[in-house]
């Protein structure tokens, strides 16, 4: 296999080194490998699978931690305590939940399409875990460095749409049908502005590999691309079915949306997929906009976790505050507001890079001052767009003034209306 791949991937190298030895793994590995000569491919597989194993388990553990932290933090936002009975500070609550769900009866409703019904949670969970493959957690900590990493993330996470539709359609429940129809419409709509918002980053880095994206961030891209950050944030929260875009599983409207009819372990899989995807999205946001694993003093993976949990906190905070939009408003927001905004972002970024960047070997290169300038231009155009939108919204809403009128004395005019 390619030497650069082995050299940059720390965990892989360590394991492969022990198994295959210096003959295959390179000069830095002095010891004789455990595997006989000619069987180094087994070491290659084992090393790969070890990382995958770590990732998949980290994903599930992350989902459990997220469930716990969401319940605790939501409680705190709502002046409640949240779960605190099982274990210290309720830390074992997710385990208790999982045990409970495991022991529950797995109900398949009458008239359900059984194979599809069973397959849906797996189809939901798989892409969420697959996305972790390309995310660098620290310098040298990753499974693989795809040169089309960004594209891979977009493509794989798009599969969730299919799972939602499968779940909603197969279980012969009208609430679920509502949820899945909403879900399909919403996810497809928000894919577009989300992908477009990444284009600005592509312009700046010139590479689709996530490691290159992190390395290109002399200044975190949140400062260079605030508009893209806002769009991406909104887009991800819509992709994740979080408030204010949680129409897919709006519990006050359609019970639980597409997973209304799921119980037991299948429900747990859905939950794990959803909660895990939030962490994965946090990881993507951290990689794209927050300089990935890089940060002073602390080791890379810890910085990475801090950034991911910053995103998670934001998500929970938003969930604790905002009401949800209506179905047509969600679509309208995506097509009428976010998509134009993302196009503006591409234009503004492209233009400013074109003007500010200096040609070097056929590539435009920007130094830090230039990057900050790009960011300032970006921010200004974002604010301009918001003001413009506010202006349009104001003129659209009828009245627009405060409507409550106080009637001090009993008004005979009121009686006139009555007669």
């Amino acid at each position: 296999m390619s030497g650069s791949f082995l050299e940059s991937n720390v965990i892989f190298q360590e394991i492969y080194c022990v198994l295959a030895g210096s003959k295959y793994a390179g000069e830095s590995c002095s010891a004789q490998g455990l595997l006989p000569v000619g069987y180094d491919w087994i070491g290659f597989f084992i090393a790969g699978f070890a990382i995958m194993f770590i990732l998949a388990n980290a994903f599930m553990l992350g989902a459990a931690v997220f469930v716990y932290s969401e319940r605790r933090l939501l409680g705190k936002f709502q002046l409640r305590t949240g779960p605190n009975r099982v274990g210290p500070f309720g830390l074992l609550q997710p385990i208790a939940d999982i045990l409970k769900l495991l022991m529950k009866e797995d109900i398949v409703p009458n008239g359900a399409d059984k194979p599809v019904h069973t397959l849906a949670p797996i189809v939901m969970l798989a892409p969420a875990i697959l996305v972790t493959a390309v995310i660098p957690f620290g310098s040298g900590y990753f499974l693989t460095d795809l040169n089309v990493g960004l594209l891979y993330i977009v493509a794989v996470s798009g599969m969730i749409t299919i799972a939602i539709f499968m779940a909603g359609w197969s279980c012969n429940n009208r609430y679920a049908l509502f949820g899945s129809m909403r879900g399909v419409a919403q996810l497809i709509s928000y894919e577009l502005p989300m992908v477009f918002s990444m284009v600005g980053i592509l312009i700046l880095t010139g590479s689709l590999s996530l490691i290159d994206v992190v390395n290109a961030q002399d200044i975190p891209f949140i400062l260079v691309q605030p508009m893209a950050f806002v769009i991406f944030l909104i887009g991800t929260s819509a992709e994740l079915n979080r408030t204010p875009f949680d129409i897919v599983e709006a519990e006050s409207e359609i019970i639980a949306g597409y997973h209304t009819e799921y119980s037991g372990i299948k429900f747990a899989l859905f939950q794990a997929a959803e909660m895990g995807s939030i962490l994965v999205s946090g990881a993507v946001v951290a990689t794209l906009f927050l300089k990935g694993w890089e940060g002073p003093f602390l080791p890379g993976p810890i910085w990475f976790l801090i950034k991911v949990y910053g995103f998670v906190f934001l998500m929970i905070w938003v969930r604790a505050t905002l009401p949800r939009l209506r179905v047509d408003q969600v679509m309208g927001f995506a097509w009428k507001f976010l998509l134009p905004l993302s196009l503006v972002n591409i234009f503004v970024t492209g233009a400013s890079v074109f003007i500010l960047g200096d040609m070097e070997n056929g590539v435009r290169v920007l130094d830090s001052v230039d990057l900050l300038l790009v960011g300032a231009i970006n921010l200004l155009s974002l604010i301009a767009c918001l003001v413009l939108a506010g202006f349009f919204m104001k003129t659209k809403a009828s009245g627009g003034r405060s409507r409550e009128i106080l009637v001090s004395e009993f008004d005979p005019a009121g009686r006139e209306v009555l007669t």
């Binding site: 409680g75 210290p88 905070w317 505050t321 918001l386 003001v387 506010g390 104001k394």
Partner: protein, 228 residues
């Protein structure tokens, strides 16, 4: 106005509340950490760790509980009525005024004390707590201040029949009457959560006017006659 400003205002409000203390109270107990235990023992956390490692580990694992006790108002209308056998004449006003008719009273004539007709011995005094709605009208109706609302609120049972409070239980129960509709208790600043009240002190008037005053002091009617 910028679009989205209202959203941020709301977010700030929730963030402010995030740092406010929790208002909910845990019931019936809550888990305490090592800091609480150390503070209770009045020593520093490190000393507590060294002195009682077992307790410390337990508290760190979330196994130490302390019961939580929230005081209700003295007027709280709770279950397990406080009933004073010595005051009750068996008049059954309570049973008659109860909107649900869930008090069952059986009496026999005593013939001992003569007071406005006759006083009765109460044989049965059952309250079916399972159907009671704690409206307190029975207490309001009792003319001799013999029945009081209780102060309890923990009476989960597996069977409805266990929810009928028989006379023995009423007799044996600790006398912690609620001050509901009993201004005399309120003016004494009686607090059922702190102390008990015996039958002599809970009446509207001095106990000597009560028909069931202990025999050695004589019958109030007789006393009046003696005075005259």
């Amino acid at each position: 106005m910028t679009y989205g400003l209202g959203l941020f205002k709301g977010m700030l409000v929730t963030l402010r509340n995030f740092f406010r203390p929790v208002v909910t109270v845990q019931y019936p107990d809550r888990r305490v950490g090592i800091f609480y235990l150390a503070k209770k023992a009045n020593i520093s956390v490190i000393r507590f760790l060294l002195e009682s490692p077992r307790e410390s580990v337990k508290s760190l694992l979330g196994l130490v509980r302390v019961p939580v006790y929230v005081e209700q108002n003295p007027r709280f209308r709770g279950e397990e009525f406080t009933w004073y056998e010595d005051r009750c004449t068996g008049c059954a006003s309570c049973a008659k005024y109860c909107p649900l008719g869930i008090i069952r009273i059986e009496t026999h004539e005593s013939g001992e004390y003569l007071q406005e007709g006759q006083s009765y011995f109460v044989d049965t005094f059952d309250i079916d707590i399972g159907r009671c709605m704690f409206c307190g009208i029975c207490v309001e109706a009792c003319p001799y201040d013999a029945l009081f609302m209780g102060t309890g609120f923990e009476r989960g049972r597996y069977q409805r029949s266990e929810l009928v409070i028989p006379i023995e239980e009423l007799k044996a129960a600790s006398k912690r009457p609620s001050t509901w509709f009993r201004p005399q208790l309120e003016s004494q600043k009686f607090d059922p959560w702190k102390s008990e009240a015996d039958w002599e002190t809970v009446g509207r008037e001095a106990y000597k006017w009560h028909p069931k005053r202990p025999a050695q002091s004589g019958n109030p009617n007789q006393e009046d006659q003696v005075k005259e």
